[in-house]
């Protein structure tokens, strides 16, 4: 994460770090395995008071960042979540809060207020089965206008915290363009079916929309013209997923390095074996690379730099590939204990593996990078 955070960023990070240290021990994370929601409403409301959902929302709407770049601030929170493999719908709640309060999104202030206070939760129904997350134009979900209503048909999966959400931001196609619609839980035609996940506390669902009707005012942005906003949300999600994964990488690496000093084998600490020292050096280079590229991507996106799209994909591809390798190497250095339920390592292995699979796999992002390179050459 940021080498030189501003004082306000530091205090934002510290309050979250302290809160999570108080309430979210690894034992508590393990206990939440059997919790249907994966997090308690009170936990989330208190977190919201610390700013967990306000950073992508403008001050006029009750939000506010601590620096001028809310996404960069939010990566600090995501990093803390990674460091503790913390539960809660941090990523989708923020993406939706940001989308609903963006310029031209329409008036959704009541929903935004609920997200800001933590009283309600919302999620983004974006991904679809057999469609690369990097290619939203290929999605199948349809949104069509009928009089002063919008009608939605499609299946979205996986949708994080869908069963715990009061609202879903559904992205679908209208002709060749994209449309985003806010759908309240319980709307007729909407069904939510729980899925399974490698993560212990993050819950996901398959969301089916069959002739779901909402008033036109439920549109977020223009009907058929939301492509740019969808891309922006997607890249924000990518950066937040990376920031969380980097936190988990850091925690696993620190834990493993300490283990190599403490664990003796054949009369000497593991840390004294050159074969293992060299692997720790490799891991350190991946870890610092993951920090570096994630911070660069967050900054680029927050400042709308021309290389933001590429950096987001570079980060996601790198953190996905090397984050997972780092975690598996940490397991290898721990030996059998590293894959036992009582050890903490798997909490991070789970989180990093989850984030590798969501928001575009490393392979999908590599293809996207090549397309961006070609476009740059053509320009």
């Amino acid at each position: 994460m940021l080498l030189e955070p501003l004082p306000d960023q530091e205090s934002l990070r510290d309050t979250t770090a302290k809160y999570l240290a108080d309430v979210m021990s690894s034992e508590q994370v393990r206990r939440l395995r059997d919790d249907a929601a994966g997090f308690a409403p009170g936990y989330w409301r208190q977190g919201a008071e610390l700013g967990w959902t306000s950073l992508l929302v403008g001050e006029a709407q009750g939000g506010g960042s601590v620096s001028e770049h809310g996404l960069v601030d939010l990566t600090l929170i995501a990093h803390e979540f990674g460091l503790r493999a913390a539960p809660g719908p941090l990523l989708p709640a923020n993406i939706v809060a940001g989308a609903l309060s963006a310029e031209g999104a329409g008036d959704h202030s009541e929903v935004v207020a609920g997200l800001l206070s933590g009283a309600s939760v919302a999620s983004w129904a974006y991904a679809e089965e057999a469609v690369a997350a990097t290619e939203p134009a290929a999605m199948a979900c349809q949104v069509r206008a009928e009089g002063d209503e919008l009608v939605i048909d499609g299946v979205k999966r996986p949708v994080e915290a869908a069963a715990q959400s009061d609202h879903l931001l559904v992205t679908g196609r209208t002709g060749d363009g994209l449309t985003q619609v806010l759908v309240a839980a319980g709307t007729p035609g909407l069904s939510v079916e729980a899925m399974h996940s490698v993560d212990l506390t993050r819950r996901f669902a398959r969301v089916e929309l069959r002739g779901v009707r909402v008033p036109s005012s439920a549109a977020v942005g223009s009907v058929g013209g939301a492509g740019a906003q969808v891309e922006r949300q997607f890249e924000q999600a990518v950066v937040l997923a990376c920031a969380e994964a980097v936190g988990a990488m850091q925690a696993a690496f620190d834990m493993t390095l300490a283990w190599t000093f403490d664990r003796y084998s054949f009369g000497r600490p593991l840390a004294s074996y050159q074969a293992l020292k060299h692997r720790c050096a490799d891991m350190k280079s991946w870890l610092e690379g993951a920090h570096a590229v994630t911070d660069a991507a967050a900054r680029a996106l927050a400042t709308a730099a021309p290389d933001a799209a590429e950096l987001a994909s570079v980060a996601k591809s790198f953190v996905g590939d090397y984050g997972a390798e780092l975690l598996q190497d940490c397991v290898q250095m721990h030996g059998g204990v590293g894959v036992t339920f009582d050890h903490d390592l798997h909490l991070y292995l789970r989180r990093v593996s989850l984030q590798r699979a969501l928001w575009g796999t490393p392979a999908e992002h590599k293809r996207r990078i090549t397309t961006l390179l070609e476009q740059r050459g053509d320009a």
């Binding site: 080498l3 030189e4 390095l257 190599t260 000093f261 600490p269 840390a271 004294s272 050159q274 020292k277 060299h278 720790c280 050096a281 490799d282 350190k284 280079s285 610092e288 690379g289 920090h291 570096a292 590229v293 911070d295 660069a296 590429e310 950096l311 994909s313 570079v314 591809s317 790198f318 392979a363 992002h365 590599k366 293809r367 996207r368 990078i369 090549t370 397309t371 390179l373 070609e374 050459g377």
Partner: protein
């Protein structure tokens, strides 16, 4: 045009920009390096041009921006060198005169040289009159620099040098060298070393150009047979060469980040690797999803390497990381450069191994692949970088040092030297 003490940074920047635009040719950091064979005459012409450019920089007050005035420099803070580097972006620059001449060689003289040595050589370096090389690595040594066996024996007011140095880039067109020698075999390894300076064109010093497998002949090996060096050309104290050597290698690690050298801003981040998109296009495989992923992977490694370099650079400057953390960048860039060459070879397909004259970017992929490991060898191997990271950055136990306290003559060494 003289620089006044009062010139402020913005004025300096503006003057630098105007001067560069008016006097230098558009170009960049296009050094052929190890990439393929270079034409000897073209190389000598390029060296001559760089001497001219360096001289022009000197005359305009842009050489040695951070060197003391008494040795021909400008005596300005590093921000001025940074401003000049920004002005240089996109223009030719005298790269062969920066590293290793100004850093580490001139940097070492500034720290350890006698007044006379500094006055004789540093202005000449800044004017482009003296090109320097590092006579550091030895054929029997590899990364173990302190294990030097090139010997200097005292003879009155002179020293007699015998031995061999290797991996000097361009010694055949250079003028002077900074040389690490062993002056006492009865002391432990790090305590019997001494540093000298010596002209490269003199009797007893034979410069041999090494042909690399790709035809490049930039690297040299030097054979020293009874080369006589006056004691006044000794740098630092007798048998205290490792004190000099430690700082020498610090300056070497700084490379183009040193405030003592001019280097176009951003050129260090320019992708020096193969153009994977170009290879894919020339091989006609851009429609293949697997090949598109390889192109993307190469780009990922390039971009992350640059971000990492920026991060570690910033952390070292703000002292959040020790300067040993530079090894993290060295390791990452070495491994990723090797990987991108493998990617290039895979993307090129059969044309990587067998090509025709018109095959475009694919035609370089094969020889680049053969030279792949140079990225993990030169400037300290990636294995050395892993040792530095694990021991100096992560604090893991040091490797046992064999014979740390033995006289160096009793420490086991390679049985034979190269050649």
């Amino acid at each position: 045009m003289a620089t006044t003490e009062a010139e402020d940074l913005d004025d300096f920047r503006e003057r630098a920009r105007k001067w560069v635009t008016a006097n230098l040719r558009p170009g960049g950091a296009e050094r052929a390096g190890l990439r393929g064979s270079t034409d000897e005459e073209a190389e000598l012409a390029a060296v001559a041009r760089e001497r001219e450019v360096q001289r022009a920089m000197f005359d305009a007050g842009f050489a040695g921006i951070c060197f003391p005035k008494e040795y021909g420099g400008q005596g300005l803070p590093p921000a001025y060198q940074g401003a000049f580097n920004e002005a240089l972006a996109g223009y030719e620059y005298p790269g062969r005169l920066q590293v290793p001449t100004l850093s580490p060689c001139a940097a070492v003289l500034l720290e350890f040289g006698t007044e006379e040595q500094k006055r004789q050589h540093i202005p000449a370096m800044l004017k482009g009159e003296e090109l320097w090389m590092q006579l550091l690595s030895e054929p029997g040594g590899g990364s173990d620099v302190a294990g030097a066996t090139t010997t200097a024996m005292r003879d009155g007011e002179e020293w007699i040098l015998n031995g061999s140095k290797i991996w000097t880039t361009g010694a055949w067109w250079s003028d002077w060298g900074l040389c690490l020698t062993r002056t006492n075999w009865d002391l432990p390894k790090h305590r019997g070393l001494t540093v000298f300076i010596l002209p490269l064109r003199q009797p007893g010093l034979d410069v041999h150009r090494i042909e690399m497998l790709n035809g490049s002949r930039e690297f040299c090996q030097e054979f020293l047979s009874d080369v006589r060096v006056p004691d006044t050309d000794r740098v630092g104290d007798v048998d205290d060469g490792w004190t000099v050597g430690t700082r020498w290698m610090f300056h070497e690690r700084m490379l183009y980040n040193s405030p003592l050298v001019s280097f176009p801003a951003g050129a260090g981040n320019a992708a020096g690797g193969p153009d994977l998109l170009g290879i894919a296009r020339s091989a006609g495989v851009l429609g293949d999803v697997a090949m598109r992923e390889r192109v993307g992977e190469g780009r990922v490694l390039d971009v992350v390497g640059n971000c990492l370099q920026d991060r570690v650079g910033a952390a070292v400057r703000s002292r959040q990381m020790s300067d040993q953390a530079a090894a993290i960048v060295r390791l990452f860039k070495g491994i990723s450069a090797a990987r991108t060459r493998t990617l290039g070879y895979e993307i090129a397909g059969a044309a990587g191994g067998v090509w025709a004259d018109g095959d475009g970017a694919s035609a370089d992929a094969g020889v680049d692949f053969l030279m792949r490991q140079t990225a993990c060898i030169g400037g300290g191997t990636t294995e050395m970088a892993r040792n530095v990271i694990s021991e100096r950055v992560l604090g893991m136990p040091r490797e046992p040092a064999v014979g740390r306290d033995l006289p160096y003559r009793d420490v086991p060494r390679s049985a034979t030297s190269r050649r």
